[in-house]
């Protein structure tokens, strides 16, 4: 198996290099493969224009409201041996600014705030009828605010290579998270092919609460993520993308307040492995439609060391009608349960156990629709836009989420 793959890779590199060499031969200004190649004389030398030291390219603000309802066995907000309420609402304002610093550096900063109700249901209150308002482990968790700031700095190393750095900080009661990462993109063959690689490290630091709400110091979770991707222009109207992502997680991989129902009518803590290795392969096709539209198709395969395997497919169509753009989309997701999922456990039993409905086997569907209005402003090509989106997401194991989202933005 190794030899054909190696041979195909070598042949691919030859095919990538060959067009680049051809581009150089016809007078392309730069080739990463033949930097010393003589350039054809330029009869019309370019006018040099210096980029401004700092310029804002775009500003966007968005507000999204999620409304979730359903039942899950990890929640004690219901009968002792039955599933409890997963009722929650999330209000999420977001903002984004993209700016250029000189002619090589692009900075993108996003800030988001999540206001979550019922972030951590109180397991002292199990036995209440379904529909009872969910209490929380700690006072602030009744209405929990999570804030996050993300920064992406992209530096144009040369005409074909971009180097970037990512940093983020996330704060919510009772969790803090720090993230750092780097990414690299390189385009080949007159920008027909772009290869991308990225590496991220996240560290989560959070309070360990038991089911009665008693705090037992701090716990740590580490997430290391490596990604490879390729973007290819297939035709003047078709783009394809492929990607692979590997994520290794270690530490306390539960939120510590999830519970499992015991066969004697009581509840115990969720116990999960301290390591999780996750693989995801994805492919995407974007096709221009001749009636001012675009079609997007995607597929992802996922497998992890906890035994969960998932297939996800999505499709979306966009249609422009003058300054108005309409979008509709659908998503299908099917996943198998992790190896240690169950809805009732032996109180004397040892080993891993979870009743978390998110780790169960289920099929999820989503349907979405959106509209966007682009309005030119002034004579310099500036635009403002208004957008609205709605989505209905539902799972076969009794959970559904509706969200509505509105945005306003300006861009050069």
């Amino acid at each position: 198996m190794r030899l054909p793959v190696a041979a195909a890779t070598a042949a691919a590199l030859i095919c990538v290099v060959a067009p680049a060499a051809r581009a150089t031969a016809v007078g392309a200004p730069f080739s990463p493969f033949f930097p010393g190649a003589p350039a054809a004389p330029d009869p019309d030398p370019p006018v040099i224009v210096f980029a401004p030291a700092y310029q804002i390219q775009s500003v966007a603000a968005r507000f999204t409201y999620f409304d979730q309802d359903g039942l899950g066995y990890q929640s004690a907000a219901g009968p002792a041996a039955g599933p409890g309420s997963e009722r929650a609402t999330i209000a999420e304002p977001q903002s984004e600014v993209v700016a250029t610093l000189g002619d090589r550096l692009v900075e993108r900063v996003t800030v988001s705030v999540d206001v979550v109700t019922a972030a951590s249901p109180d397991h002292r209150l199990y036995g209440l009828p379904v529909g009872t308002p969910v209490d929380a482990v700690s006072g602030p968790s009744r209405i929990n605010e999570a804030e996050e700031i993300d920064s992406d700095s992209t530096y144009a190393w040369d005409r074909t290579t971009n180097l970037g750095f990512h940093a983020n900080y996330h704060l919510e009661e009772p969790l803090e998270s720090w993230g750092l990462g780097t990414f690299l993109t390189h385009s080949f063959a007159d920008d027909n092919t772009v290869l991308a690689a990225s590496l991220y490290q996240l560290v989560d630091w959070f309070d360990n609460f038991n089911l009665a709400g008693k705090r037992f110091g701090r716990d740590v979770r580490s997430t290391t993520n490596f990604n490879l991707g390729i973007t290819q222009l297939l035709t003047p109207t078709t783009i394809v993308l492929g990607g692979y992502g590997f994520t290794a997680q270690g530490g306390t991989l539960t939120n510590t307040w999830n519970s499992v129902p015991f066969s004697d009518g009581t509840r115990g803590t969720e116990v999960v492995p301290r390591e999780r290795l996750r693989h995801a392969f994805s492919g995407r096709l974007v096709q221009w439609l001749p009636w001012q539209g675009a079609l997007k198709l995607g597929y992802r395969f996922y497998a992890d060391s906890w035994g969960s395997v998932a297939h996800t497919a999505d499709a979306a169509v966009s249609q422009r009608l003058g300054q108005l753009t309409l979008d509709i989309g659908g998503r299908y997701h099917r996943q198998s349960a992790v190896d240690f999922f169950g809805i009732v456990f032996d109180p004397a039993g040892a080993g891993y156990r979870t009743a978390d409905s998110d780790l169960a086997g289920f099929t999820a569907y989503a349907l979405s629709a959106g509209a966007r209005w682009d309005q030119p402003v002034g004579h310099r090509g500036h635009q403002i836009y208004f957008a609205a989106t709605g989505e209905h997401y539902w799972r076969t194991n009794n959970l559904h989420v509706d969200f509505v989202s509105g945005a306003v933005g300006w861009r050069q």
Partner: protein, 75 residues
Amino acid sequence: MRRRLPRVLLAALAAALLWSGCAMVPQNRRKHLGDPMMSPDGDALLTAGRRKLYTSRESAGGGDAAPAGGGCGCQ
């Protein structure tokens, strides 16, 4: 089946690379490819919100140049 799958996907990736190296779309024929509707990810903020919903409500994530978990109180 599980052991064979990564090899098949690796071969598919190599084939995609082979395919990619031999296709050329000249710069002056990329008008439609630069249209905002052709952006694979669409609106960045909306995509981030959707990703948060899916990764917190499903066991699967990743494959889109983002971590498959971590960074929030969900998992």
